[in-house]
Symmetry: C2
Subunit: 311 residues, 2 copies
């Protein structure tokens, strides 16, 4: 196995990638990362999923949270609070430097993909991490309270609103980041990381050309369920599955990936769903340990995904 392309959201994807680069050469891995969660905060461009992937792969990440920088400072945010400023979005001092760097370079006219490569190089990441697009793409959440910007829904309102629908503002006009389609075309395996299908994977597929490249590829497409035992490891995937009328289970996720993926990996806790998924969908389905509680589990899941791709 050499080239692997990974469709990636935040924490789950980052952990999967962290295992993957232990079992294949990092240079052969391309992480295609969601930017639908990106936001402007006090004039700064914040890219939560890119940051989570970058902090995780560089070892900087706060291991308890799965995002942010370990042992980060709170001086700036505390001072901002004391000034009456916007403090609902948690940003540490080291983390802030990333946003300042990114924003400065964007102002200089650099594309987000270039800036991401620069940051990754600085923190010693050897695999390729790219935003799905350099263009503006924003996830908008439709709720009974009206449309909410993603971070408003997710952080400020704590993902408490029922989700009627999602739309990806700007997606239609967005172009895939440079080299991204080629990376998918050249991949010998494509992995859909254990990320939120609606909030992380759908925005990637909404960029014209991405879904088509995945579908057209001869390489096996392996999807990993982010739902274990009817609950999401992280984030609001379960609530959104429910809100949108899907089965809140790995089965519900498998149905979403039917026609896109070839193989579906679910957690061993959900092994009883394998038969039903294989009966109901065109997916080959397998159960393994998917909870990535440490380096060994991360590596094992990456190996399992590659084994399924080669099977």
């Amino acid at each position: 196995m050499s080239a692997v392309a990974v469709l990636a959201g935040g924490v789950g994807a980052a952990r999967f990638l962290d295992g993957l680069v232990q079992v294949v050469a990092p240079q052969d891995v391309t992480a295609i990362v969601n930017v639908g969660d990106d936001m402007e905060w006090a004039g700064l461009h914040i890219a939560p999923d890119l940051d989570t992937v970058m902090y995780t792969l560089s070892g900087l990440v706060n291991p308890e949270m799965g995002w942010g920088v370990a042992n980060d400072g709170r001086r700036v945010l505390d001072r901002l609070k004391s000034l009456g400023g916007p403090a609902w979005f948690t940003i540490g001092d080291d983390d802030l430097a990333t946003h300042l760097y990114r924003t400065q370079r964007l102002r200089e006219g650099a594309p987000l993909s270039t800036i991401t490569a620069e940051l990754c190089e600085r923190v010693g990441i050897e695999c390729r991490v790219t935003p799905v697009t350099d263009d503006r793409l924003r996830t908008v959440v439709q709720t009974p309270e009206g449309e909410l910007a993603f971070q408003d829904y997710f952080v400020r309102r704590r993902a408490a609103d029922p989700v009627h629908a999602l739309r990806f503002d700007g997606a239609e006009a967005a172009r895939p980041a440079p080299g991204l389609i080629e990376a998918v075309e050249q991949a010998e395996a494509i992995v859909i990381a254990p990320s939120n299908p609606f909030l992380s994977i759908d925005p990637l597929l909404a960029v014209p050309g991405v879904r088509e490249a995945v579908t057209a590829s001869d390489a096996p497409v392996v999807a990993i369920s982010p739902i274990i035992g009817g609950a999401a490891v992280k984030g609001p995937a379960a609530e959104i599955l429910d809100s949108l009328g899907h089965d809140v289970s790995a089965l519900g996720v498998a149905r979403l990936y039917d026609g896109l993926a070839d193989v579906f990996i679910l957690d061993e806790q959900d092994a009883d769903l394998v038969g039903q998924i294989e009966a109901e969908t065109s997916l080959r389905c397998t159960a393994t340990q998917t909870l990535m509680s440490g380096p060994a589990e991360k590596r094992a899941l990456a190996q399992a995904a590659l084994a399924e791709a080669s099977a």
Copy 2:
């Protein structure tokens, strides 16, 4: 003496104001502050003169530098440097919170004058501090190397370029901040602080209506020389006087304020220039201690300015 309006730049003006609010009721003081030095830095709106005035009047200021926050952290800037980011402009961690607050509020549509009032209230400032305008006004420095944005000239290139001319981009279309003209009209004394005439005072006067209001006022206009013994206390005023062909002395400054001010205060070191200034200009001229090395000197200079205004 009640209402006093002060035309203000950065460090020198801030120190003068710090003395003034000790000798008149702060509520009667309006500081009209230069924004020609403002800049965008990594997407943030930085207003150096407003910050210097605010940090000084609130007691937060770094007393050695005369700007920035005392005992401020360097965590974010150090991290930004390690990422290869723009680190030529020194911004401490607490200082950064001010810029984040200001930028967030600007993005929300609040005018700079409102934001400045909010920040001043938060840090306990009782006098009125207002930018000269809520509109965009940027000092551009014309040098042999071409036009330079002010902070490029001043910080990045350390004010080392000869200055051929200055222009105030946006000034013609800028409107005085709300209430500013009324504050000048109602002032019983107008003080031109010991600031750089070209970089701090000229941009204020370049906003249509400001010079006219100062000139039309019946109140005495007292200007304080920022040049002592042929040198500036702070900043490049001496170099710019020289570059532009003016006498590098309090005399050179007095000539610039002839027709605008009624009284000119210079340092006791320059007392020998009083006669020449009074002979050559329409200014009444007086010498006193103008170096504001501590609270007592600040108060004394404020009292001297008010005494001249009442004389």
